[in-house]
């Protein structure tokens, strides 16, 4: 079983991504912005941390944006967990910033459930 963390300030987006990923048998945890996501990661038990196979994050969020969040994750024990960005932002400059921060991929919203599952499958075996 793979555990996936979804970070997005929209409850609607979190719920729909959670539904999609749970349908594929993944366990999903949610956080509403980068700051709460870091606390969530910090509070994981050893087993839960070991199961965490992927992080999916939005970019434009209050408190802490997605790019800052990715940079911070890269300073923790979770630095090898692939981070997928899921955002309406599609400019190349923004993508480069994400890549430099350490993102593994970039998915432009809106997407179909199967598009999310396809990309997740590349990282979570």
């Amino acid at each position: 079983m793979a555990r996936i963390l979804i970070v997005d300030d929209s409850p609607t987006l979190r719920a729909s991504a959670q539904f999609t990923l749970e349908s594929e048998g993944h366990a999903v945890i949610q956080a509403e912005n980068g700051a709460t996501a870091l606390s969530t990661l910090d509070g994981l038990s050893e087993d839960e941390a070991g199961d965490l196979k992927m992080i999916i994050t939005d970019i434009n969020m209050p408190e802490m944006d997605g790019i800052t969040f990715i940079r911070k994750v890269k300073e923790t024990q979770f630095r090898y967990v692939p981070v997928l960005v899921m955002t309406t932002e599609s400019q190349d400059a923004m993508k480069s910033e994400g890549r430099e921060a350490g993102a593994a991929g970039w998915l432009v919203k809106p997407f179909k459930p199967e598009q999310l599952n396809d990309v997740v499958q590349r990282f979570v075996k």
Partner: protein, 203 residues
């Protein structure tokens, strides 16, 4: 998106069309004309900033949970873009106030026109409720088109019922509806950054 000086208000305005949105903390007035499309105005009273979008969901059979449908994705995107721009302006997404406009049905359109209008309105209310954003006022449904002036710094709106002049509006909205379907391939595009991360596992 067009900009100019409003002849009556003597204030700069930004005019948005279907699929567009604008958010600001300046004195710009945002204007749009709606037929069966819907526009949602979001105001952040702490930030004294707000914005308006203008969207339509492509036709699809009615479904209880609109956010989860194919066409709901277009509404989600419109809302996400607007809320995202407010966050960029500094919004903490607390105490947001929404106003919902549009969803009129051209009296001469066939049943599909009514269905699209209804879906657009239902989506807006469903989304805002799920996001915990209060709808402080709305002017939706009915048979007329609407001209909206939204004042983002105050969250105030002026709505004027307007005739569907010379079929132009109905034509524009139909063209937009078709263009959504055509541009669908751009959405859900994936870029993978090779060699950045090792899949699976914790250090």
């Amino acid at each position: 998106m067009n900009t100019g000086m409003h002849p009556v208000l003597k204030q700069p305005y930004v005019s948005i069309g279907p699929g567009e949105h604008y958010a600001t903390n300046t004195d710009d007035v945002i204007s749009t004309v709606l037929g069966s499309c819907v526009a949602v105005g979001i105001f952040d009273p702490d930030l004294k900033a707000g914005g308006l979008n203008h969207f339509m969901l492509p036709d699809e059979p009615l479904n209880k949970n609109l956010s989860a449908t194919e066409s709901g994705r277009y509404g989600l995107k419109a809302m996400e873009l607007l809320l995202g721009d407010l966050v960029k302006l500094g919004s903490r997404r607390r105490r947001l106030e929404a106003k919902v406009f549009g969803g009129g049905a051209f009296i001469a359109t066939e049943e599909v026109g009514w269905r699209i209008a209804l879906r657009n309105v239902e989506f807006a209310f469903e989304f805002l409720s799920a996001e915990g954003i209060t709808v402080v006022s709305s002017d939706v449904g009915g048979a007329s088109a609407r001209r909206i002036l939204y004042f983002p710094k105050a969250g105030r709106a002026l709505v004027k019922a307007t005739p569907w002049t010379g079929w132009q509006l109905a034509h524009d909205e139909a063209a937009y509806s078709q263009s959504i379907a055509r541009t669908d391939h751009k959405h859900g595009s994936v870029t993978l950054f090779e060699g950045e991360t090792v899949p699976g596992g914790v250090a």
